[in-house]
């Protein structure tokens, strides 16, 4: 169709919109004014109730921010520090402003994360949510005052960290104002906020190898760097990456301040749990980078044209990287084999293997390894299904499963069995769906990308896809954490309607757990108390990352929109006797 015809098409779309306008033109201005009055009254009542609850909320003891004892002393100290910093900067930065050697920020005390910044609205309006009735041992609890991030990582049972961009507006690609680092020393209940170096923009998630050591890849005024802290966020070291390796997009740090990373000159990928800059189906041409917190760097290039996406190192010598075959992942039903690279010598040499075909490793896959033999990874399978019967009247030529074209390859038998299982679940639900009821929808083509998990117990040579619970119809996983060979937790969302008073379908969080190495997965169900609003944007996206440093301690982020007033934070603490 020519551009001219496409313009004409837009005019036809405008005709459709005009018809809608004509339908509503019968509303008198008086009716419209009344409606507007009703809406603004509702808005003002809600915002005033929120503000009143914030004003009357008693500040817990832990939120007390200590005032500096000597304001004058502090001021002088800051002035001296600035002078010294200026001198240091002159010596370490070239004429073009680029870093030639690492810099370290001055010590900061941090700021207690208070109820006004996060969680107050949820706490005051809805009380504390308890996630009960779980089929696994232990109780999940929602922490009302959590950090606003989406990528929690807990290197120990008590130490948890997050990193979060502060942007100018709650829209995509809004200018970055600063990056905050959040630290907790009690498993995610109480948080302290620190400021990361001005000019830093993360391109990886935070990776914390031990109780007070964390690292993140990113750019510093446009230059590729590794930012690290060894004192839980009180100060940061900014180390420039070697030239010609590009920017870090995956980072995995182990104890001893050793980090492995994947870099690409095609980056950066954002630091969100949902990478978005390097496009799926694009070759990453990744390079492996090994560093000891930025002091030294060693790089090893993978074969050109590779499309590795995620890396996990369990020691300074053992690492595994996963990816897809970029040249073949161009369609919805791409069943090409994924690729696995393993190293047991700190990345000097790598051994290649393949994943079962039909399981796609993408930029949002999460890899978690309990040790050098046991790893699990979340990925995507394509599931064809039957639309609800009513969709047939829509007469779309592609609404039959048999019409789905295959881009490449065929799924392995193990993946095909999972696909068949998921397909029957979705089809079964669709058979019950009627127009204008909850859950009704038509998809063309009738195929959905659905998350699955694949595991290895032999260091990455063979991988087995795992069947997720039937209660989760179409899971989309954001997080995966395996604290032991047998225990794994996965987090995300599902389109399944959750049990909420009032019939809301806005809550769709998913927590899955296994205690037998993935042979069986169970669902943690949510018991939402009365009084929960029927629509709360902060809970609409389910759960983001999950981090389980031990078999009986986990923390997880709730995910919401960028403009959500607050985000929930979840923690699991299983008594030792129950584990």
């Amino acid at each position: 169709m020519s551009d001219q015809l496409q313009d004409e098409l837009l005019k036809r779309v405008r005709d459709i919109v005009n018809l809608v306008d004509m339908d509503t033109a019968n509303d008198s201005s008086e009716v419209e004014s009344l409606r507007a009055l009703g809406v603004i009254a509702r808005v003002m009542a809600n915002v005033q109730r929120e503000e009143a609850s914030r004003r009357t909320m008693k500040r817990p003891n832990w939120q007390t921010v200590r005032r500096p004892r000597g304001r004058v002393v502090a001021t002088v100290s800051v002035a001296i520090a600035l002078v010294l910093l200026a001198g240091v900067l002159v010596s370490i930065m070239g004429d073009n402003g680029r870093l030639n050697s690492p810099i370290t920020t001055s010590w900061q005390s941090g700021k207690a994360l208070n109820a006004k910044q996060a969680g107050a609205t949820v706490l005051s309006r809805h009380g504390t949510w308890m996630l009960a009735d779980n089929s696994l041992s232990g109780t999940w609890q929602q922490v009302p005052v959590g950090p606003p991030g989406t990528g929690v990582t807990c290197p120990t049972a008590s130490a948890c960290y997050e990193m979060e961009k502060i942007t100018a507006a709650p829209v995509e690609n809004s200018p970055l104002l600063s990056v905050s680092f959040y630290a907790s020393t009690d498993g995610g209940v109480i948080w302290t906020q620190f400021t990361m170096p001005n000019g830093f923009s993360p391109t990886t998630l935070l990776s914390c190898g031990s109780g007070s050591d964390c690292d993140a890849g990113g750019t510093y005024n446009g230059q590729s760097v590794l930012v690290s802290t060894t004192n839980a966020g009180h100060s940061f070291n900014v180390a420039p990456l070697p030239s010609a390796v590009g920017t870090l997009f995956s980072l995995s740090c182990t104890s001893g301040q050793i980090c492995g990373g994947l870099t690409s000159e095609k980056g950066p990928i954002s630091a969100k749990y949902h990478p978005d800059s390097l496009e799926f189906s694009q070759a990453t041409d990744a390079t492996f980078l090994l560093t000891n917190d930025g002091s030294t760097f060693t790089s090893t290039a993978f074969a050109s044209g590779n499309s590795l996406w995620t890396l996990e190192c369990t020691s300074s010598t053992d690492c595994v990287a996963l990816g897809d075959q970029a040249s073949q992942s161009a369609g919805t039903t791409d069943w090409a084999e994924g690729i696995v690279e393993t190293s047991h010598d700190g990345g000097s040499t790598w051994t290649s293997a393949t994943l079962p075909s039909g399981f796609t490793v993408s930029p949002r896959s999460v890899l978690s390894c309990a040790d050098d033999l046991h790893c699990s990874v979340s990925g995507q399978i394509s599931v064809p299904f039957d639309n609800p019967p009513a969709c047939a009247t829509m007469n779309h030529p592609s609404n039959a499963p048999t019409s789905i074209p295959v881009t490449s390859g065929v799924p392995s038998a193990a993946v095909a069995a999972i696909v068949q299982f998921e397909s029957s679940l979705i089809t079964s639900a669709n058979l019950q769906a009627k127009p204008n009821t909850e859950g009704f929808g038509c998809s063309w083509p009738p195929v959905d990308p659905v998350s699955d998990i694949m595991s290895t117990s032999d260091g990455g040579t063979t991988w087995t896809p795992e069947q997720l619970p039937s209660s989760v119809e179409a899971p989309v996983l954001n997080g995966l954490s395996c604290p032991s060979d047998n225990d794994c937790w996965a987090s995300g969302y599902d389109e399944t309607v959750q049990r909420v008073p009032g019939g809301s379908d806005s809550i769709e969080s998913v927590l899955l757990g296994t205690t037998d190495g993935g042979a069986t997965w169970s669902t943690v169900t949510f018991n939402v108390p009365p009084g929960t609003p029927s629509s709360e944007s902060a809970f609409g996206d389910g759960i983001g990352r999950i981090s389980c440093p031990t078999t009986n301690v986990c923390a997880a982020n709730g995910v919401g929109m960028a403009d959500a007033a607050s985000l929930p934070f979840y923690r699991l603490a299983i008594p030792n006797s129950a584990s």
Binding site: L10, R14, I40, R42, S362, E495, S506, M561
Partner: protein, 186 residues
């Protein structure tokens, strides 16, 4: 003027346009009011960020867009909301665009991804320029133009396939989350 007075003024100036925005996306009057209420609750919390002048309505569209997408994200991939937006009927084989019934174009719109459909509706429904669409979606004008170009092309391709005009419809695109969800500000 204090914050509440300015807030109320902003609401009055833009209520009608946002109601129209909601109705264009298939919401009934009550749902459109819910969308507006949710949008302005966000606006209250971020009132200091509202741009002056003509930029305000684009900023409001951006918030409403996020609210709408959040609403949609909580439903199935092709939501009942979308189904209600664009009711379809059986189509007959026709080859000229002018002969294609509006119902068929509605059906083709429904087959688009949420983001593609939004770009087209912002232009055709709200009358925005590509640069203004860029402001709403938080991307540059060039990116918005590129998105509009792709969306128009996909819409045309779907129609071509439905009406059996020459080229077959290329099968989909990589099913990433951009089709279904908003980025969480990271």
């Amino acid at each position: 003027m204090d914050k509440e007075s300015r807030f109320r003024a902003l609401f009055s100036e833009n209520y009608r346009q946002l109601a129209r925005y909601g109705r264009h996306r298939g919401l009934n009057a009550e749902e459109a009011d819910d969308l507006i209420a949710n949008t302005f609750e966000v606006v209250w919390r971020r009132f200091e960020s509202v741009p002056d002048g003509d930029g305000a309505v684009l900023w409001l569209y951006g918030i409403a867009f996020n609210q709408l997408r959040n609403l949609r994200r909580s439903k199935r991939r092709q939501t009942r909301l979308a189904a209600r937006i664009l009711p379809v009927t059986s189509m007959s084989d026709q080859s000229e665009l002018s002969d294609i019934p509006l119902e068929a174009i509605r059906a083709a719109l429904q087959a688009l991804s949420f983001d593609d459909r939004e770009v087209i509706l912002l232009v055709a429904g709200e009358g925005l320029s590509a640069d203004e669409v860029g402001v709403v979606l938080g991307c540059g004008g060039a990116t918005a133009r590129s998105r509009l170009h792709r969306a128009r092309k996909r819409l045309a391709t779907i129609l071509e396939e439905d009406h059996k005009v020459q080229r077959p419809r290329p099968f989909g695109h990589v099913p990433n989350e951009d089709d279904e969800t908003t980025e969480v500000s990271g």
